[in-house]
Symmetry: C2
Subunit: 155 residues, 2 copies
DNA sequence: CAAAATAGTTTGAATTTCAAACTATTTTAG
DNA sequence: CTAAAATAGTTTGAAATTCAAACTATTTTG
C-alpha cells in the first residue's frame, strides 16, 4: 500500500492523541473492573505495586522502591496498607536480617492473576485480526519507544 | 511470514508487560523533560490538564472535570495553581455568567506546543522504519483498544 | 571491635484529593 | 412575573499520599 506524506502526518497526529487518552482510560477501567470483583479495596496504584512485587520474585523493599521510583517511606506506607488488607506479606531475610523480602498472599496472587488476565484481554483485543508479522511490528514499535525513552533519559 | 501459536503467545506476553512499564516511564520522562526547559514548575498532572484545556476550545470547568474525571473541587484547586503560575486564564462567559471558560495564556500555549512536540517525537521514534500500511495497522490497534475500553465500560 | 554503610521504619510537613456545603446565576413552573 | 429548582463553580474540612530527614537495627569494613 502507498501513502502520501500528508496521510502519514495525519496518522501520526491520530496516534499521538489516541495514546494520551487511552492510557488514562486504561488506568481507570483497570481499577473499576477490579473494584467490581471481590477486590473492592484496591486502587490502580496498589494494583501496580502488586504487579511489581510479582508472583515468585521475593523482591526487597529497596528493589521495588527503585523500580517504581517511590521513596522508601512512601513504599513502607503502601506496603502497610496492602499488608493490613491481606494482599502481601513481609518476610525477614535470614541471611541478612536488615532485608525484607516481599511476597503475595494467596489473595494477592489471585488479584495478580485477575489483573494479568485483564491485561491479556486488552492486548488480545488490540491485536485482533493481526498476523504474526503484524504482531512482530507491534513489538518493534514498543522496543522503539523503550529505546527512545532510554535515549532521552540518558542524554 | 508464518508463526507458531507459541511464538505469538510469547509476543502477547512481551507486549502486555512492555505496555505496563512504558506508560509509567513516559509519564516520568515527560515531566522531567519539561522541567529541564523554562517550565520548571509544572508536574505531569498539570501537563495533562493543560493538554486537555487545549489551544482554542474555551472549555468550561465542568467539561474539563468530566473529561479528566476529577471532582469540581479538585479541578478548581488545580486551576488556581495554574492560574497563579501564569499558564491559564479564566474567562467569565457573558451569555451565562455562571460559566467559566478556560484558556491558555501565551506561556501556557508555549508549554502546550512543547509537550505536543515531545509526543510527536515519541510517536515518530516509535514508528521509525514503518511504512504507510504498518502505520495504518498501528492506528487500527489503537481503535481496537478504544473499542475494548468502550465495551468494558458500558457492560 | 569500632566506624561506616545499608535496609527499612517513623515522623512531620506539604500536596492532592474528595464530598458536601455554599454562592451566584439562570431556567422552569405555577 | 416571580418563587423554586437547577446549574456552574468555589470553599471548606477531612482523609490520603507523598517526600525527605531522622531514626533503629543489622551487617560490612578497616
Amino acid at each position: 500500500m502507498n501513502s502520501t506524506s500528508d496521510e502519514i502526518k495525519d496518522d501520526y497526529n491520530f496516534i499521538s492523541e489516541a495514546l494520551i487518552d487511552i492510557y488514562d482510560q486504561i488506568m481507570r477501567i483497570e481499577e473499576s473492573e477490579i473494584r467490581k470483583s471481590r477486590f473492592k479495596d484496591i486502587t490502580a496504584k496498589e494494583l501496580h505495586l502488586i504487579h511489581t512485587i510479582g508472583l515468585h520474585d521475593r523482591k526487597t523493599t529497596s528493589e521495588v522502591s527503585r523500580v517504581l521510583k517511590l521513596s522508601k517511606g512512601t513504599l513502607t506506607a503502601n506496603l502497610n496498607n496492602l499488608e493490613k488488607k491481606g494482599y502481601i506479606i513481609r518476610m525477614i531475610n535470614q541471611q541478612d536480617r536488615r532485608i525484607i523480602n516481599l511476597g503475595l498472599t494467596s489473595k494477592g496472587r489471585l488479584l495478580y492473576r485477575a489483573n494479568y488476565a485483564f491485561h491479556r484481554q486488552l492486548v488480545e483485543s488490540c491485536l485482533k485480526g493481526f498476523d504474526g508479522s503484524d504482531i512482530r511490528k507491534m513489538r518493534q514499535a514498543l522496543v522503539n519507544v523503550e529505546k527512545f525513552i532510554d535515549e532521552v533519559s540518558s542524554k
